[in-house]
Each structure stands twice: as structure tokens, then as C-alpha cells.
């Protein structure tokens, strides 16, 4: 549980001058932003704009080249001890585009994985979860409407159900920050809406700050309290959805400056290339 009196005024996450290069490519180029407790922030941008890399630098799935990241007052460095890194990671939920479950295990087992960050090696190896944790998992699973699938193998679930398992796993961590990397990119529009609503409502209810990478500008506008726009690794917009103009959107999504504003925004967004997300 976060001690809200300590963090309520301060940012829970602070990113300053973040840089990450892949060879000569600047995946993330000097990005600064803060996230306060309870905020729901979307990052929008084209594939390869660096959204995913920013997230992965924060929980250090990717090592950064420059800049500083502070989470709950703790500096996340490339040289922090494994113990400190695990501590920080256990406080940050992460939801992936491809759900990243262990598909041969049951829904319940996958959800319980959220507790591994808090357990000793032996308990973790043997999967000795406390009854209290199991009860908590059951309640979360019920809230997310998965109780009928409790002992089904994750492989047998639909895409939307898989993502709900991933959300449950993240909630089991009792995180103070939830990072969602394209959480709905593999889902159909109806399921996408359900998943977005679940993420946002659960985050609100539990007072978890949210950072969500999104392709869909309309979803970003609808669900977030603040939007960050990224383009070619640079942060080009940071503000509420009210001040996110159509010109700004087309600037964020346009690869080519010359044609800026010539087409309708909707056209540009729907025509944006759906490349694979490998580079970042």
C-alpha cells in the first residue's frame, strides 16, 4: 500500500532527460514527465515513436543510456542492486500487448504470479502462497468476471479473457503504478472498450496511477486525465485532452512534416502504418 501522505503532493514517478539509443537510432530522446498518484496518463504516438521503450526503461526491462527515473522516491538506476530492482518492480504493475501469461498454467496460477515479487525464494519455488493472498486473488478474479474460468488453462481463453488475467496478475501486486503497453492492440473494438474500462475503473478504485501506451487517440481522450504525445523519440505534447488539438494529433501521428494538416485527422490516423512493434 502506498503511504498517500508521503506521495500525495509529490510525483509518484518522475522521468528526467530519459535517453535510449539503439545503435544510431534515438528510440527515446530527452523525455521528461512526472506522474502524480491517481493520475491516468496515456502516451500516444506512432509505432516506433518510443512509447514502449519509455515504459521498459521505467521498470528496467530495458537499460537506459541517459537520464534519471525516480519511482516512489527511489532512484531507478542501471546499477541498483537486484534486491532493490525487485522491490521497485513489485510495486509497478505491467500489462503487455500480448498478455504474456504462462499459457500452460491455470488462470488462478497466473494471477498468483503477481505475488512472487513479495516472496522468499523457497516459497516462490514451491508456489506456497498464503491463504490471505489466495483469497485476495479469488476476489480480484471474481471482480474481473473470470471466476468461471478459475481452473481453466490460460491457453484456452479468449484474447479479452487473457488480458483480464493479466490485469488480475498486476492488481495482485498491489502496485502504486500500473503501466499498460498497448493493452488493447490485439483486441477487437468491443473487447477493447471493456478492457480499457476495467483498467481505468480498477485503477481509480484502488488509487493506482496509470501510464497507458495507446494507438487509439479516441480511447486516450476518453479515459485519461492527461495525454503525452511522442514523436520520433521526443515528447511533443503533455497536457489534458481538452488542449490536444487536431493539428497536434496530426503532428504526432504524421511521419512527414511536409504534408502536415493537408488531410483530415481521421484519415491520417486510420492510414497510419500498422507495423510490427519490434524496433521499440
Amino acid at each position: 500500500m502506498i503511504n498517500s501522505s508521503i506521495y500525495s503532493n509529490d510525483a509518484i514517478l518522475s522521468v528526467k532527460g530519459l535517453k535510449k539509443y539503439y545503435g544510431a537510432t534515438k528510440a527515446v530522446d530527452d523525455v521528461d514527465f512526472d506522474i502524480k498518484p491517481g493520475e491516468i496518463v496515456s502516451i500516444i504516438g506512432r509505432s516506433g515513436a518510443g512509447k514502449s521503450t519509455v515504459m521498459r526503461c521505467i521498470n528496467r526491462l530495458v537499460l537506459r543510456d541517459e537520464g534519471s527515473i525516480t519511482f516512489e522516491g527511489m532512484e531507478i538506476t542501471n546499477k541498483m542492486s537486484p534486491k532493490q530492482l525487485r522491490e521497485a518492480r513489485s510495486r509497478i504493475g505491467f500489462i503487455f500487448q500480448n498478455y504474456n501469461l504462462v499459457y500452460r498454467l491455470t488462470v488462478f496460477q497466473n494471477v498468483m504470479h503477481g505475488r512472487l515479487g513479495y516472496m522468499s525464494t523457497l516459497d516462490g519455488v514451491l508456489g506456497r502462497y498464503s491463504e490471505e493472498d489466495k483469497m485476495k486473488a479469488y476476489n480480484i478474479i471474481e471482480t474481473l468476471g473470470l471466476n468461471e474460468q478459475l481452473y481453466q488453462r490460460a491457453a484456452d481463453l479468449s484474447g479479452g479473457q487473457k488480458q483480464r488475467v493479466a490485469i488480475a496478475r498486476a492488481l495482485m501486486q498491489e502496485p502504486s503504478l500500473l503501466m499498460c503497453d498497448e493493452p488493447i492492440a490485439s483486441l477487437d473494438p468491443v473487447t477493447s472498450r471493456t478492457i480499457m474500462e476495467l483498467i481505468v475503473s480498477q485503477a481509480r478504485e484502488r488509487g493506482i496511477a496509470c501510464l497507458i501506451n495507446l494507438h487509439q487517440v479516441d480511447f486516450a481522450k476518453e479515459y485519461s486525465t492527461r495525454i503525452i504525445g511522442m514523436r520520433d523519440g521526443k515528447l511533443v505534447f503533455d497536457g489534458s485532452s481538452a488542449i490536444l488539438t487536431d493539428d497536434m494529433i496530426s503532428y504526432i501521428y504524421k511521419g512527414d512534416d511536409n504534408r502536415l494538416g493537408n488531410q483530415s485527422v481521421d484519415m491520417q490516423i486510420s492510414n497510419k502504418p500498422v507495423e510490427e512493434y519490434n524496433i521499440v
Partner: protein, 267 residues
């Protein structure tokens, strides 16, 4: 288009490539034949001898072994000689595979060394190990089992490591991101995902070891192969042939059993 009477199915370069490849293979065959003085027509000239031996010396097979172990217990021993190396080789390969696969190895240098050793070992036939081990421990089943175990560790380690390499990097990333320690990550994520692959390799090892335990036995590793060879050397070809047929049945039964198990496990 006007150059061709029909529309070519392949471009010219490709056809040229196939022609060259075919010529090279034909040349290699001719050179090899000259080198080994192998006469492909010998078989036809001496066909008479072959059928003579087959009909008069090998048939009918004799399934009753005089003295010592009966055929059934020999077959059981043969199966045992393939299960024990699979068991021990499997345990050792299991432990080492986590250090060998690049996706789970805590240390990359150790991974490279282990990988090299496994590859080197995999290319050594178990008979070579047997020859070395016989010098130290003498002839017998123990040496046969030992040689098979060493060989099994080699290819199982390589196989297990490949299975681990293919375990989704994605699920491991998720377990890392909840802040799990290394061993819990292996036991809660990697091993459950790798289990079908591991079991499939173990079943394969049983299949391989049933065959190689016979060969190993024939060159001094004990078991059914040695008995078969000793009858052969005493010109009791019918008894040897009986053993060979019993072996063939064993191999077919064991293979269909492992096939069945494999299908059950991998779903």
C-alpha cells in the same frame, strides 16, 4: 517472351543452379565409388550367397536360449539399459540446461562453454565412450549404462536448452516485471512452459537408447547386444536372429508407446 516457346516456370539462374548442383552431386558419387572400390553390381552378382545365408542359416529363428537368461528377461534388461541412462542423463541435463540456454543462463560464458561441450559430445558416438570406459572398468552392463548416460547427457542437454530457448521470452518478461527472483521464475514460469518439450526429449532418449544399448552391448557393453554377438560368433545364427527379431518387436512396441505418450503430453 519471344525468346521462349513456352513460358519458363523458373528463371534462367535458378535452372543453372539446379544443373550445377546435380552435376556436383553426380561427380561426388563417382569419386566416392572410385575411392572405396565399391561395386554397385556386386550386390546383384552375390545375391545368391545372400539368400542362401538368409534361408539356410538364419531361418527359422530360434527363440529358445540355452543357459543363462531367457529371451524375455534379456529384452527387459535391454529396456532397463535404456531407461537408466535416460533417467540419470535426464536429471543431469535438466539441471545443466538452465545454465546452457541463453534465455535462462545467469552467465553467458558458462552457457557458451556448456553448449560447446554438449555439441562436441553429441557428435561422439556412444561406442567411442564405451571403448574408453572399457579400458578403465572392463566389459559389462555397468560400462554400457555409463557410456549411454554420458551420451544421453550430451544430446538431452542440447535438446533441453533448445526447448528453454523457445519458451516465450514474453512470459519470462512478465514474471521479471512482477519482481520475482530467479529460481521462482524458473519454477513458476519456465519449467511449466518447457515441460512438454522436456518430456518429448526424454521419450526420444528412451527410443535412441534402446537401439544404442544393443550396439553398445555388441561391442562390450553387456546386455542383449552382447548375448546376440556371442551367439553370432559361435555361428549360432538362428539364435542371434531370434534375438534380433525380439529386439525389433521391442523397438516397435516402445516406439508406439512413446508416440502415444508424446501425443498425450503435447496438447
Amino acid at each position: 517472351m519471344s525468346d521462349y516457346k513456352t513460358i519458363p516456370k523458373k528463371i534462367k539462374e535458378q535452372r543453372k543452379f539446379y544443373a550445377i548442383t546435380f552435376t556436383v552431386i553426380a561427380l561426388l558419387y563417382i569419386i566416392a565409388t572410385i575411392q572405396t572400390k565399391f561395386n554397385p553390381f556386386d550386390f546383384f552378382f552375390k545375391m545368391g550367397n545372400f539368400f542362401d545365408f538368409l534361408l539356410n542359416e538364419l531361418l527359422p529363428p530360434n527363440f529358445e536360449l540355452s543357459g543363462g537368461l531367457g529371451l524375455i528377461s534379456l529384452v527387459m534388461q535391454n529396456i532397463g539399459m535404456s531407461i537408466i541412462p535416460t533417467f540419470f542423463g535426464g536429471i543431469i541435463a535438466f539441471c545443466l540446461s538452465f545454465l546452457t540456454s541463453y534465455s535462462t543462463a545467469p552467465n553467458r560464458v558458462i552457457a557458451i562453454i556448456l553448449r560447446g561441450l554438449a555439441s562436441f559430445q553429441r557428435n561422439l558416438p556412444s561406442a567411442i565412450w564405451l571403448m574408453i570406459l572399457v579400458m578403465a572398468f572392463g566389459i559389462g552392463t555397468t560400462v554400457g549404462v555409463l557410456a549411454l548416460t554420458i551420451n544421453t547427457i550430451g544430446y538431452l542437454l542440447r535438446g533441453f536448452a533448445d526447448v528453454l530457448d523457445e519458451v516465450g521470452k514474453e512470459s519470462m518478461e512478465a514474471i521479471d516485471s512482477v519482481g520475482a527472483r530467479y529460481l521462482p521464475k524458473l519454477f513458476q514460469c519456465v519449467i511449466p512452459a518447457a515441460l512438454p518439450g522436456f518430456i518429448s526429449w526424454l521419450l526420444y532418449a528412451i527410443e535412441i537408447n534402446i537401439l544404442s544399448s544393443t550396439v553398445i552391448g555388441a561391442v562390450g557393453g553387456g546386455g542383449i547386444g552382447m548375448i546376440m554377438m556371442s551367439h553370432w560368433k559361435l555361428f549360432r545364427f538362428r539364435t542371434s536372429f531370434g534375438i534380433i527379431l525380439a529386439l525389433a518387436v521391442t523397438v516397435i512396441v516402445v516406439n508406439s508407446l512413446t508416440d502415444y505418450l508424446r501425443k498425450r503430453v503435447i496438447r
